[in-house]
Protein backbone atom coordinates (compact mmCIF):
# COMPACT_ATOMS: atom_id res chain seq x y z
CA UNK A 1 0.00 0.00 0.00
CA UNK A 2 1.40 3.36 -1.02
CA UNK A 3 -0.04 6.78 -0.42
CA UNK A 4 1.47 10.18 -1.19
CA UNK A 5 0.09 13.59 -0.53
CA UNK A 6 1.18 16.89 -2.10
CA UNK A 7 4.69 15.66 -2.69
CA UNK A 8 7.21 18.23 -3.86
CA UNK A 9 10.92 18.35 -4.31
CA UNK A 10 13.48 21.06 -4.95
CA UNK A 11 16.79 20.51 -6.64
CA UNK A 12 19.44 22.31 -4.75
CA UNK A 13 21.92 22.58 -7.55
CA UNK A 14 19.69 23.34 -10.55
CA UNK A 15 18.28 26.83 -10.09
CA UNK A 16 16.03 25.79 -7.24
CA UNK A 17 13.56 24.25 -9.62
CA UNK A 18 10.67 22.79 -7.64
CA UNK A 19 8.80 19.72 -8.85
CA UNK A 20 5.24 18.93 -7.80
CA UNK A 21 4.03 15.35 -7.98
CA UNK A 22 0.49 14.05 -8.27
CA UNK A 23 -0.93 12.19 -5.27
CA UNK A 24 -1.08 8.45 -5.60
CA UNK A 25 -3.07 6.01 -3.54
CA UNK A 26 -2.49 2.33 -4.17
CA UNK A 27 -4.14 -0.39 -2.17
CA UNK A 28 -2.38 -3.71 -1.63
CA UNK A 29 -1.24 -5.66 -4.71
CA UNK A 30 -2.23 -2.79 -6.99
CA UNK A 31 0.12 -1.89 -9.84
CA UNK A 32 0.86 1.55 -11.19
CA UNK A 33 2.50 2.78 -14.34
CA UNK A 34 3.87 6.30 -14.29
CA UNK A 35 4.48 7.73 -17.73
CA UNK A 36 6.35 10.86 -18.57
CA UNK A 37 8.86 12.32 -20.96
CA UNK A 38 12.43 12.55 -19.81
CA UNK A 39 13.30 15.41 -17.51
CA UNK A 40 9.98 15.68 -15.71
CA UNK A 41 11.33 14.08 -12.55
CA UNK A 42 10.30 10.46 -12.95
CA UNK A 43 13.47 9.16 -11.33
CA UNK A 44 13.20 11.76 -8.61
CA UNK A 45 9.71 10.52 -7.85
CA UNK A 46 10.92 6.93 -7.53
CA UNK A 47 13.81 7.99 -5.33
CA UNK A 48 11.43 9.92 -3.10
CA UNK A 49 9.27 6.83 -2.73
CA UNK A 50 12.33 4.76 -1.96
CA UNK A 51 13.47 7.22 0.68
CA UNK A 52 16.68 7.97 -1.18
CA UNK A 53 15.79 11.65 -1.40
CA UNK A 54 14.15 13.77 1.26
CA UNK A 55 10.98 15.51 -0.03
CA UNK A 56 10.70 19.24 0.35
CA UNK A 57 7.05 18.99 1.22
CA UNK A 58 4.21 16.49 1.32
CA UNK A 59 3.79 13.09 2.86
CA UNK A 60 4.66 9.52 1.91
CA UNK A 61 3.07 6.48 3.51
CA UNK A 62 4.09 2.95 2.71
CA UNK A 63 2.05 0.33 4.50
CA UNK A 64 1.07 2.78 7.24
CA UNK A 65 4.67 3.80 7.80
CA UNK A 66 5.06 7.53 7.59
CA UNK A 67 8.38 7.80 5.71
CA UNK A 68 8.95 11.48 6.47
CA UNK A 69 9.26 10.73 10.15
CA UNK A 70 12.00 8.11 9.90
CA UNK A 71 15.61 8.97 10.65
CA UNK A 72 18.19 8.29 8.00
CA UNK A 73 19.19 5.04 9.62
CA UNK A 74 15.59 3.91 10.07
CA UNK A 75 14.99 4.81 6.45
CA UNK A 76 17.92 2.62 5.37
CA UNK A 77 16.52 -0.22 7.42
CA UNK A 78 12.99 0.26 6.06
CA UNK A 79 14.28 0.39 2.50
CA UNK A 80 16.28 -2.76 3.01
CA UNK A 81 13.26 -4.65 4.28
CA UNK A 82 10.36 -3.40 2.25
CA UNK A 83 11.52 -1.79 -0.96
CA UNK A 84 12.91 -3.41 -4.07
CA UNK A 85 14.53 -1.14 -6.60
CA UNK A 86 15.18 -1.98 -10.23
CA UNK A 87 17.16 0.43 -12.33
CA UNK A 88 17.31 1.18 -16.00
CA UNK A 89 20.95 0.24 -16.00
CA UNK A 90 21.72 -2.80 -13.96
CA UNK A 91 24.05 -2.29 -11.00
CA UNK A 92 25.80 -5.10 -9.23
CA UNK A 93 28.64 -5.82 -6.89
CA UNK A 94 31.14 -6.85 -9.49
CA UNK A 95 33.45 -8.77 -7.21
CA UNK A 96 30.67 -11.16 -6.23
CA UNK A 97 29.01 -13.99 -8.15
CA UNK A 98 25.35 -14.08 -9.18
CA UNK A 99 24.29 -16.09 -6.16
CA UNK A 100 26.47 -14.01 -3.81
CA UNK A 101 24.83 -10.82 -5.08
CA UNK A 102 21.44 -12.27 -4.26
CA UNK A 103 22.59 -13.46 -0.85
CA UNK A 104 24.04 -10.05 -0.07
CA UNK A 105 20.77 -8.35 -0.99
CA UNK A 106 18.87 -10.79 1.19
CA UNK A 107 21.27 -10.32 4.10
CA UNK A 108 21.07 -6.55 4.01
CA UNK A 109 17.28 -6.76 4.18
CA UNK A 110 17.80 -8.32 7.65
CA UNK A 111 15.23 -10.93 6.74
CA UNK A 112 15.72 -14.62 7.32
CA UNK A 113 17.71 -16.34 4.62
CA UNK A 114 15.48 -18.36 2.30
CA UNK A 115 17.62 -20.55 0.04
CA UNK A 116 14.53 -22.07 -1.56
CA UNK A 117 13.25 -18.67 -2.62
CA UNK A 118 16.61 -17.82 -4.16
CA UNK A 119 16.77 -21.10 -5.98
CA UNK A 120 13.26 -20.74 -7.36
CA UNK A 121 13.98 -17.21 -8.44
CA UNK A 122 17.18 -18.16 -10.20
CA UNK A 123 15.36 -20.97 -11.93
CA UNK A 124 12.44 -18.81 -13.02
CA UNK A 125 14.80 -16.27 -14.51
CA UNK A 126 16.79 -18.95 -16.30
CA UNK A 127 20.03 -18.22 -14.45
CA UNK A 128 20.47 -21.65 -12.88
CA UNK A 129 23.66 -22.58 -14.63
CA UNK A 130 25.10 -19.11 -14.13
CA UNK A 131 24.70 -18.72 -10.41
CA UNK A 132 28.41 -19.04 -9.63
CA UNK A 133 29.51 -16.86 -12.52
CA UNK A 134 30.79 -13.34 -12.06
CA UNK A 135 28.64 -10.50 -13.37
CA UNK A 136 30.86 -9.57 -16.28
CA UNK A 137 30.41 -13.06 -17.68
CA UNK A 138 26.66 -12.46 -18.10
CA UNK A 139 25.00 -11.15 -21.25
CA UNK A 140 23.01 -7.94 -21.10
CA UNK A 141 19.68 -9.78 -21.06
CA UNK A 142 20.90 -12.02 -18.25
CA UNK A 143 22.10 -9.00 -16.30
CA UNK A 144 18.70 -7.36 -16.67
CA UNK A 145 17.00 -10.49 -15.38
CA UNK A 146 19.42 -10.64 -12.46
CA UNK A 147 18.66 -7.04 -11.56
CA UNK A 148 14.97 -7.99 -11.37
CA UNK A 149 15.89 -10.89 -9.13
CA UNK A 150 17.85 -8.51 -6.90
CA UNK A 151 14.81 -6.23 -6.70
CA UNK A 152 12.46 -8.94 -5.53
CA UNK A 153 14.57 -11.56 -3.73
CA UNK A 154 13.69 -10.23 -0.28
CA UNK A 155 9.92 -10.16 -1.04
CA UNK A 156 9.51 -6.41 -0.64
CA UNK A 157 6.18 -4.71 -0.10
CA UNK A 158 6.90 -2.30 -2.90
CA UNK A 159 8.75 -2.94 -6.13
CA UNK A 160 9.95 0.27 -7.75
CA UNK A 161 11.22 -0.05 -11.32
CA UNK A 162 12.88 2.87 -13.08
CA UNK A 163 12.78 2.52 -16.86
CA UNK A 164 13.28 -1.26 -16.70
CA UNK A 165 12.68 -1.74 -20.42
CA UNK A 166 14.18 1.23 -22.19
CA UNK A 167 17.34 -0.56 -23.24
CA UNK A 168 15.60 -3.75 -24.34
CA UNK A 169 14.23 -5.00 -27.62
CA UNK A 170 10.55 -5.89 -27.97
CA UNK A 171 10.94 -9.54 -27.04
CA UNK A 172 12.96 -8.85 -23.94
CA UNK A 173 10.67 -5.97 -23.02
CA UNK A 174 7.66 -8.32 -22.97
CA UNK A 175 9.61 -10.82 -20.91
CA UNK A 176 10.72 -8.29 -18.33
CA UNK A 177 7.26 -6.86 -17.87
CA UNK A 178 5.64 -10.25 -17.41
CA UNK A 179 8.40 -11.26 -15.03
CA UNK A 180 7.91 -8.15 -12.94
CA UNK A 181 4.17 -8.69 -12.82
CA UNK A 182 4.59 -12.32 -11.89
CA UNK A 183 7.08 -11.57 -9.13
CA UNK A 184 4.88 -8.80 -7.77
CA UNK A 185 2.04 -11.33 -7.47
CA UNK A 186 4.28 -13.88 -5.75
CA UNK A 187 5.55 -11.32 -3.26
CA UNK A 188 2.09 -9.78 -2.87
CA UNK A 189 3.57 -6.38 -3.41
CA UNK A 190 2.80 -3.13 -5.18
CA UNK A 191 4.59 -2.74 -8.48
CA UNK A 192 5.34 0.80 -9.54
CA UNK A 193 6.97 1.31 -12.91
CA UNK A 194 8.02 4.63 -14.30
CA UNK A 195 8.86 4.82 -17.95
CA UNK A 196 8.60 6.78 -21.12
CA UNK A 197 8.41 3.51 -23.01
CA UNK A 198 5.00 3.37 -24.69
CA UNK A 199 5.28 -0.40 -25.21
CA UNK A 200 4.68 -0.95 -21.52
CA UNK A 201 1.44 1.00 -21.46
CA UNK A 202 -0.80 -1.77 -22.74
CA UNK A 203 0.19 -4.09 -19.89
CA UNK A 204 -1.22 -1.92 -17.13
CA UNK A 205 -4.67 -0.55 -16.52
CA UNK A 206 -3.62 1.87 -13.88
CA UNK A 207 -1.45 4.70 -15.14
CA UNK A 208 -0.77 8.31 -14.47
CA UNK A 209 1.16 10.83 -16.48
CA UNK A 210 3.68 13.15 -14.92
Amino acid sequence: MIRTHALQFTYQDVENQTLYFPDIDLSAKEDLLILGASGVGKTTFIHLLAGLLPPKGGKIFIDDTFLNKLTRKQLDYFRGQHIGLIFQRAYFIRSLSVLENLTLREKLSKKKSDPQRKEELIQQLGLSNLQNKRIHQLSEGQQQRLSIALGVVHSPKVILADEPTSNLDDVNCEKVISLLKKEARICKSNLVIITHDQRVKSHFNNHIIL
Binding site: L52, D76, R79, G80, L104, L108
Partner: protein, 398 residues
Protein backbone atom coordinates in the same frame (compact mmCIF):
# COMPACT_ATOMS: atom_id res chain seq x y z
CA UNK B 1 30.48 -7.76 5.06
CA UNK B 2 33.78 -9.45 5.87
CA UNK B 3 33.34 -11.69 2.88
CA UNK B 4 32.51 -8.75 0.65
CA UNK B 5 35.59 -6.88 1.85
CA UNK B 6 37.71 -9.90 1.11
CA UNK B 7 36.13 -10.36 -2.33
CA UNK B 8 36.62 -6.72 -3.17
CA UNK B 9 40.28 -6.96 -2.34
CA UNK B 10 41.00 -10.03 -4.38
CA UNK B 11 39.07 -8.66 -7.33
CA UNK B 12 41.76 -5.98 -7.54
CA UNK B 13 44.81 -8.14 -6.97
CA UNK B 14 47.36 -5.67 -8.29
CA UNK B 15 46.39 -2.79 -6.02
CA UNK B 16 46.05 -5.07 -3.07
CA UNK B 17 49.37 -6.71 -3.77
CA UNK B 18 51.15 -3.37 -4.06
CA UNK B 19 49.80 -2.09 -0.77
CA UNK B 20 50.62 -5.28 1.02
CA UNK B 21 54.07 -5.43 -0.51
CA UNK B 22 54.96 -1.90 0.59
CA UNK B 23 53.70 -2.51 4.06
CA UNK B 24 55.44 -5.85 4.21
CA UNK B 25 58.77 -4.34 3.22
CA UNK B 26 58.63 -1.60 5.78
CA UNK B 27 57.53 -3.91 8.55
CA UNK B 28 60.17 -6.48 7.77
CA UNK B 29 62.85 -3.82 7.62
CA UNK B 30 61.78 -2.30 10.90
CA UNK B 31 61.42 -5.59 12.75
CA UNK B 32 64.68 -6.83 11.28
CA UNK B 33 66.57 -3.82 12.53
CA UNK B 34 64.90 -4.01 15.91
CA UNK B 35 65.70 -7.68 16.21
CA UNK B 36 69.31 -7.17 15.21
CA UNK B 37 69.75 -4.38 17.67
CA UNK B 38 68.09 -6.19 20.53
CA UNK B 39 69.84 -9.45 19.93
CA UNK B 40 73.19 -7.85 19.38
CA UNK B 41 72.71 -5.99 22.61
CA UNK B 42 71.72 -9.15 24.39
CA UNK B 43 74.62 -11.02 22.92
CA UNK B 44 77.10 -8.37 23.98
CA UNK B 45 75.60 -8.01 27.40
CA UNK B 46 75.48 -11.71 28.03
CA UNK B 47 79.08 -12.25 27.04
CA UNK B 48 80.53 -9.26 28.82
CA UNK B 49 78.44 -9.58 31.97
CA UNK B 50 80.76 -11.98 33.79
CA UNK B 51 83.57 -9.43 33.83
CA UNK B 52 83.76 -5.91 35.15
CA UNK B 53 87.15 -5.02 33.80
CA UNK B 54 89.77 -6.22 31.38
CA UNK B 55 93.44 -5.49 31.88
CA UNK B 56 95.61 -5.72 28.81
CA UNK B 57 98.31 -4.03 26.82
CA UNK B 58 97.87 -0.39 25.96
CA UNK B 59 95.84 0.38 22.88
CA UNK B 60 92.21 0.86 22.06
CA UNK B 61 90.03 -0.10 25.02
CA UNK B 62 87.27 -1.19 22.65
CA UNK B 63 89.70 -3.45 20.84
CA UNK B 64 90.73 -4.98 24.13
CA UNK B 65 87.14 -5.79 24.99
CA UNK B 66 86.35 -7.10 21.53
CA UNK B 67 89.40 -9.32 21.48
CA UNK B 68 89.53 -10.57 25.06
CA UNK B 69 85.88 -11.04 25.83
CA UNK B 70 84.04 -11.29 22.52
CA UNK B 71 86.93 -12.81 20.59
CA UNK B 72 86.34 -10.96 17.35
CA UNK B 73 89.28 -8.58 17.18
CA UNK B 74 93.03 -8.98 17.50
CA UNK B 75 94.58 -8.44 20.91
CA UNK B 76 96.34 -5.21 21.73
CA UNK B 77 99.45 -7.06 22.79
CA UNK B 78 100.73 -9.00 25.77
CA UNK B 79 101.22 -8.11 29.39
CA UNK B 80 103.34 -9.58 32.10
CA UNK B 81 101.49 -12.13 34.16
CA UNK B 82 103.25 -11.13 37.35
CA UNK B 83 102.51 -7.51 36.94
CA UNK B 84 98.90 -8.25 36.20
CA UNK B 85 98.55 -10.50 39.19
CA UNK B 86 100.09 -7.87 41.42
CA UNK B 87 97.35 -5.47 40.51
CA UNK B 88 94.81 -8.14 41.09
CA UNK B 89 95.89 -8.45 44.71
CA UNK B 90 93.40 -5.90 45.81
CA UNK B 91 90.61 -6.51 48.31
CA UNK B 92 88.06 -5.10 45.90
CA UNK B 93 88.80 -7.82 43.37
CA UNK B 94 86.50 -10.77 43.67
CA UNK B 95 87.98 -12.88 40.97
CA UNK B 96 90.53 -12.59 38.23
CA UNK B 97 91.12 -14.82 35.31
CA UNK B 98 94.17 -14.59 33.09
CA UNK B 99 93.60 -15.41 29.46
CA UNK B 100 96.12 -16.01 26.76
CA UNK B 101 95.56 -16.71 23.13
CA UNK B 102 97.20 -16.42 19.79
CA UNK B 103 96.37 -19.59 17.97
CA UNK B 104 93.39 -21.04 16.25
CA UNK B 105 92.11 -24.26 14.85
CA UNK B 106 90.22 -23.72 11.58
CA UNK B 107 89.42 -20.19 12.68
CA UNK B 108 88.21 -21.15 16.17
CA UNK B 109 90.30 -19.54 18.84
CA UNK B 110 92.25 -21.55 21.29
CA UNK B 111 92.03 -19.83 24.62
CA UNK B 112 94.42 -20.56 27.43
CA UNK B 113 92.80 -19.92 30.78
CA UNK B 114 92.15 -21.60 34.14
CA UNK B 115 89.00 -23.68 34.15
CA UNK B 116 87.19 -21.19 36.39
CA UNK B 117 86.70 -19.22 33.18
CA UNK B 118 84.11 -21.80 32.22
CA UNK B 119 82.17 -21.19 35.42
CA UNK B 120 81.70 -17.55 34.51
CA UNK B 121 79.43 -18.60 31.68
CA UNK B 122 77.83 -21.39 33.65
CA UNK B 123 79.17 -23.96 31.25
CA UNK B 124 78.82 -27.64 31.96
CA UNK B 125 80.48 -30.62 30.34
CA UNK B 126 78.40 -32.66 27.98
CA UNK B 127 80.94 -35.42 27.96
CA UNK B 128 84.51 -36.09 28.99
CA UNK B 129 86.41 -34.18 31.63
CA UNK B 130 88.14 -30.88 32.08
CA UNK B 131 91.66 -30.32 30.83
CA UNK B 132 94.37 -31.05 33.37
CA UNK B 133 97.63 -31.29 31.53
CA UNK B 134 98.95 -29.06 28.80
CA UNK B 135 97.57 -29.79 25.35
CA UNK B 136 94.36 -31.14 26.69
CA UNK B 137 91.39 -29.09 25.53
CA UNK B 138 87.71 -28.67 26.16
CA UNK B 139 85.78 -27.55 23.09
CA UNK B 140 82.63 -25.48 22.82
CA UNK B 141 79.55 -27.23 21.48
CA UNK B 142 79.48 -25.31 18.19
CA UNK B 143 83.16 -25.93 17.49
CA UNK B 144 82.76 -29.61 18.22
CA UNK B 145 79.77 -29.92 15.96
CA UNK B 146 81.25 -27.95 13.07
CA UNK B 147 84.58 -29.73 13.07
CA UNK B 148 83.27 -33.10 14.04
CA UNK B 149 85.50 -33.20 17.11
CA UNK B 150 84.99 -36.02 19.55
CA UNK B 151 86.58 -37.08 22.78
CA UNK B 152 90.09 -38.15 22.01
CA UNK B 153 90.26 -36.26 18.71
CA UNK B 154 93.49 -34.45 18.23
CA UNK B 155 94.41 -31.51 16.06
CA UNK B 156 97.23 -29.08 15.56
CA UNK B 157 96.80 -25.38 15.93
CA UNK B 158 97.63 -22.62 13.51
CA UNK B 159 99.49 -19.57 14.60
CA UNK B 160 97.53 -16.36 14.60
CA UNK B 161 93.85 -15.79 14.91
CA UNK B 162 92.82 -16.02 11.29
CA UNK B 163 91.75 -19.16 9.60
CA UNK B 164 94.15 -20.52 6.95
CA UNK B 165 97.20 -19.11 8.71
CA UNK B 166 100.37 -20.11 6.99
CA UNK B 167 102.25 -21.07 10.08
CA UNK B 168 101.09 -24.35 11.54
CA UNK B 169 102.43 -25.66 14.83
CA UNK B 170 103.14 -29.12 13.63
CA UNK B 171 104.87 -30.51 16.66
CA UNK B 172 102.32 -30.35 19.41
CA UNK B 173 98.85 -31.66 18.76
CA UNK B 174 95.98 -30.83 21.10
CA UNK B 175 93.72 -33.54 22.38
CA UNK B 176 90.03 -33.17 23.15
CA UNK B 177 89.20 -34.33 26.66
CA UNK B 178 85.83 -32.71 27.06
CA UNK B 179 82.96 -31.21 25.11
CA UNK B 180 80.77 -28.50 26.60
CA UNK B 181 77.02 -28.21 26.61
CA UNK B 182 75.70 -25.30 24.54
CA UNK B 183 75.68 -22.09 26.55
CA UNK B 184 74.44 -19.70 23.85
CA UNK B 185 77.48 -17.59 24.62
CA UNK B 186 80.85 -17.03 23.04
CA UNK B 187 82.06 -20.14 24.81
CA UNK B 188 80.35 -22.32 22.22
CA UNK B 189 82.81 -21.01 19.67
CA UNK B 190 86.00 -21.44 21.62
CA UNK B 191 88.52 -24.11 22.32
CA UNK B 192 89.68 -23.88 25.92
CA UNK B 193 92.92 -25.14 27.33
CA UNK B 194 95.19 -24.14 30.18
CA UNK B 195 97.67 -21.31 30.05
CA UNK B 196 100.59 -23.62 29.99
CA UNK B 197 99.62 -25.10 26.65
CA UNK B 198 99.75 -21.71 25.02
CA UNK B 199 103.09 -20.95 26.55
CA UNK B 200 104.53 -24.29 25.57
CA UNK B 201 103.37 -24.05 21.98
CA UNK B 202 105.26 -20.83 21.63
CA UNK B 203 108.30 -21.71 23.68
CA UNK B 204 108.78 -24.69 21.50
CA UNK B 205 108.70 -22.46 18.48
CA UNK B 206 111.24 -20.14 19.99
CA UNK B 207 113.93 -22.70 19.66
CA UNK B 208 113.62 -22.35 15.93
CA UNK B 209 112.75 -18.71 15.74
CA UNK B 210 114.59 -16.91 18.49
CA UNK B 211 113.39 -13.46 17.45
CA UNK B 212 109.75 -14.11 18.26
CA UNK B 213 107.97 -11.62 20.46
CA UNK B 214 107.47 -14.23 23.19
CA UNK B 215 111.14 -14.40 23.94
CA UNK B 216 111.09 -12.94 27.42
CA UNK B 217 111.64 -15.28 30.28
CA UNK B 218 108.75 -13.86 32.14
CA UNK B 219 105.40 -15.45 31.60
CA UNK B 220 103.06 -13.36 29.55
CA UNK B 221 99.35 -13.35 29.11
CA UNK B 222 97.11 -11.51 26.68
CA UNK B 223 94.81 -10.04 29.26
CA UNK B 224 93.41 -10.39 32.71
CA UNK B 225 89.65 -10.57 33.18
CA UNK B 226 88.61 -9.09 36.51
CA UNK B 227 85.47 -9.27 38.54
CA UNK B 228 84.91 -6.85 41.40
CA UNK B 229 83.04 -7.06 44.64
CA UNK B 230 81.28 -3.83 43.84
CA UNK B 231 81.18 -1.79 40.63
CA UNK B 232 82.85 1.28 42.15
CA UNK B 233 86.05 -0.71 42.44
CA UNK B 234 86.28 -1.02 38.69
CA UNK B 235 86.20 2.74 38.19
CA UNK B 236 88.84 3.48 40.79
CA UNK B 237 91.13 0.75 39.70
CA UNK B 238 90.89 1.41 35.99
CA UNK B 239 91.94 4.98 36.58
CA UNK B 240 94.91 3.79 38.59
CA UNK B 241 96.01 1.24 36.01
CA UNK B 242 95.67 3.59 33.09
CA UNK B 243 97.67 6.31 34.80
CA UNK B 244 100.35 4.45 36.72
CA UNK B 245 101.15 1.31 34.76
CA UNK B 246 102.15 0.31 31.27
CA UNK B 247 98.94 -1.63 30.97
CA UNK B 248 95.45 -0.42 30.29
CA UNK B 249 92.16 -1.27 31.91
CA UNK B 250 88.93 -1.28 29.94
CA UNK B 251 85.41 -1.52 31.33
CA UNK B 252 83.23 -3.75 29.13
CA UNK B 253 79.99 -2.08 30.13
CA UNK B 254 81.26 1.33 29.18
CA UNK B 255 82.90 0.21 25.95
CA UNK B 256 79.85 -1.74 24.82
CA UNK B 257 77.67 1.25 25.47
CA UNK B 258 80.03 3.28 23.34
CA UNK B 259 79.96 0.67 20.61
CA UNK B 260 76.18 0.58 20.61
CA UNK B 261 76.16 4.34 20.36
CA UNK B 262 78.26 4.14 17.20
CA UNK B 263 76.05 1.44 15.77
CA UNK B 264 72.98 3.32 16.94
CA UNK B 265 73.44 5.86 14.17
CA UNK B 266 73.25 3.09 11.62
CA UNK B 267 70.25 1.50 13.25
CA UNK B 268 68.60 4.89 13.46
CA UNK B 269 69.11 5.47 9.76
CA UNK B 270 67.61 2.14 8.79
CA UNK B 271 64.76 2.74 11.21
CA UNK B 272 64.07 6.10 9.60
CA UNK B 273 63.98 4.46 6.20
CA UNK B 274 61.57 1.88 7.54
CA UNK B 275 59.33 4.60 8.93
CA UNK B 276 59.36 6.42 5.60
CA UNK B 277 58.40 3.23 3.79
CA UNK B 278 55.70 2.71 6.41
CA UNK B 279 54.32 6.15 5.66
CA UNK B 280 54.40 5.43 1.94
CA UNK B 281 52.62 2.16 2.62
CA UNK B 282 50.02 4.00 4.68
CA UNK B 283 49.61 6.49 1.87
CA UNK B 284 49.29 3.66 -0.62
CA UNK B 285 46.57 2.03 1.47
CA UNK B 286 44.86 5.38 1.72
CA UNK B 287 45.02 5.97 -2.04
CA UNK B 288 43.88 2.44 -2.62
CA UNK B 289 40.87 3.01 -0.38
CA UNK B 290 40.02 6.36 -1.93
CA UNK B 291 40.26 4.80 -5.36
CA UNK B 292 38.09 1.92 -4.26
CA UNK B 293 35.49 4.29 -2.92
CA UNK B 294 35.56 6.36 -6.11
CA UNK B 295 35.51 3.45 -8.50
CA UNK B 296 32.85 1.65 -6.58
CA UNK B 297 30.68 4.66 -5.94
CA UNK B 298 27.86 2.94 -7.76
CA UNK B 299 28.28 -0.26 -5.84
CA UNK B 300 28.32 1.60 -2.57
CA UNK B 301 25.22 3.53 -3.60
CA UNK B 302 23.65 0.22 -4.57
CA UNK B 303 24.39 -1.14 -1.12
CA UNK B 304 22.54 1.83 0.31
CA UNK B 305 19.48 0.97 -1.76
CA UNK B 306 19.82 -2.56 -0.43
CA UNK B 307 19.31 -1.16 3.04
CA UNK B 308 22.93 -0.78 4.15
CA UNK B 309 23.39 2.33 6.27
CA UNK B 310 26.37 4.63 6.09
CA UNK B 311 27.94 3.01 9.10
CA UNK B 312 27.95 -0.35 7.35
CA UNK B 313 29.70 1.16 4.35
CA UNK B 314 32.28 2.72 6.64
CA UNK B 315 32.70 -0.67 8.21
CA UNK B 316 33.32 -2.16 4.78
CA UNK B 317 36.07 0.36 4.06
CA UNK B 318 37.62 -0.26 7.48
CA UNK B 319 37.51 -4.00 7.05
CA UNK B 320 39.32 -3.74 3.75
CA UNK B 321 41.92 -1.43 5.26
CA UNK B 322 42.47 -3.56 8.34
CA UNK B 323 42.66 -6.66 6.22
CA UNK B 324 45.36 -5.07 4.08
CA UNK B 325 47.40 -3.81 6.96
CA UNK B 326 47.17 -6.94 9.07
CA UNK B 327 48.21 -9.11 6.20
CA UNK B 328 51.05 -6.73 5.45
CA UNK B 329 52.13 -6.71 9.06
CA UNK B 330 52.03 -10.46 9.51
CA UNK B 331 53.86 -11.16 6.27
CA UNK B 332 56.36 -8.40 7.01
CA UNK B 333 56.94 -9.71 10.49
CA UNK B 334 57.67 -13.16 9.18
CA UNK B 335 59.95 -11.78 6.49
CA UNK B 336 61.80 -9.82 9.17
CA UNK B 337 62.22 -12.95 11.25
CA UNK B 338 63.34 -14.99 8.29
CA UNK B 339 65.95 -12.39 7.37
CA UNK B 340 67.12 -12.31 10.97
CA UNK B 341 67.39 -16.04 10.85
CA UNK B 342 69.39 -15.99 7.64
CA UNK B 343 71.63 -13.32 9.04
CA UNK B 344 72.07 -15.42 12.13
CA UNK B 345 73.38 -18.33 10.13
CA UNK B 346 75.82 -16.04 8.44
CA UNK B 347 76.93 -14.29 11.61
CA UNK B 348 77.23 -17.49 13.57
CA UNK B 349 79.87 -18.60 11.14
CA UNK B 350 81.57 -15.24 10.99
CA UNK B 351 81.37 -13.85 14.53
CA UNK B 352 79.91 -16.52 16.71
CA UNK B 353 76.70 -14.54 17.08
CA UNK B 354 73.65 -16.57 17.52
CA UNK B 355 70.23 -15.05 16.94
CA UNK B 356 67.09 -16.37 18.46
CA UNK B 357 63.73 -16.68 16.74
CA UNK B 358 61.43 -14.93 19.16
CA UNK B 359 57.79 -14.01 19.50
CA UNK B 360 56.78 -10.41 18.82
CA UNK B 361 58.18 -8.15 21.48
CA UNK B 362 56.93 -4.87 22.86
CA UNK B 363 58.58 -2.72 20.26
CA UNK B 364 57.07 -4.78 17.48
CA UNK B 365 53.68 -4.52 19.11
CA UNK B 366 54.28 -0.80 19.11
CA UNK B 367 54.88 -0.95 15.36
CA UNK B 368 51.68 -2.95 15.04
CA UNK B 369 49.84 -0.23 16.94
CA UNK B 370 51.41 2.35 14.64
CA UNK B 371 50.29 0.41 11.57
CA UNK B 372 46.76 0.10 12.89
CA UNK B 373 46.71 3.79 13.70
CA UNK B 374 47.93 4.68 10.21
CA UNK B 375 45.33 2.39 8.72
CA UNK B 376 42.57 3.93 10.80
CA UNK B 377 43.55 7.42 9.76
CA UNK B 378 43.62 6.30 6.12
CA UNK B 379 40.25 4.60 6.50
CA UNK B 380 38.70 7.58 8.26
CA UNK B 381 39.89 9.93 5.55
CA UNK B 382 38.69 7.58 2.84
CA UNK B 383 35.29 7.12 4.42
CA UNK B 384 34.51 10.81 4.77
CA UNK B 385 33.47 10.73 1.14
CA UNK B 386 30.93 8.06 2.05
CA UNK B 387 28.97 10.63 3.99
CA UNK B 388 28.80 12.81 0.93
CA UNK B 389 27.67 9.94 -1.26
CA UNK B 390 24.59 11.15 -3.12
CA UNK B 391 22.89 7.84 -3.77
CA UNK B 392 20.07 9.27 -5.81
CA UNK B 393 22.32 11.24 -8.08
CA UNK B 394 24.78 8.42 -8.68
CA UNK B 395 22.10 5.93 -9.60
CA UNK B 396 20.05 8.37 -11.66
CA UNK B 397 23.07 9.27 -13.72
CA UNK B 398 22.41 7.24 -16.82
Amino acid sequence: MLYLAYKNLISKPLNTFLSILLLMLSISLATFVLQMKDQLNQHLEKNTKPFDMVIGAKGSPLQLILSSILHIDNPTGNISLNEALKIGKNPMVKEMIPVSYGDNYKGYRILGTPDKYLNQYGATLREGKLYKKPFEVVVGSYVAEKNNLQLGSSFTSTHGLAENGLETHTTKPFMVTGILNPTASILDHLIITNLKSIWEVHEHEHEHTPHEEYHEKEREITSLLVKFRNPIGALQMSRYINEKTTMQAALPKFEIERLMKFLGVGFQTINSIAIIILLVAGLSIFINLIKTVRERKQELALLRTYGANIFQLVKLVFLEAIFLSMLGFILGWFLGRISTWFFSIYSENAYGYHFVFGLPNNKELFILALVILTTFIAAILASTSLYKLNVSKILANV
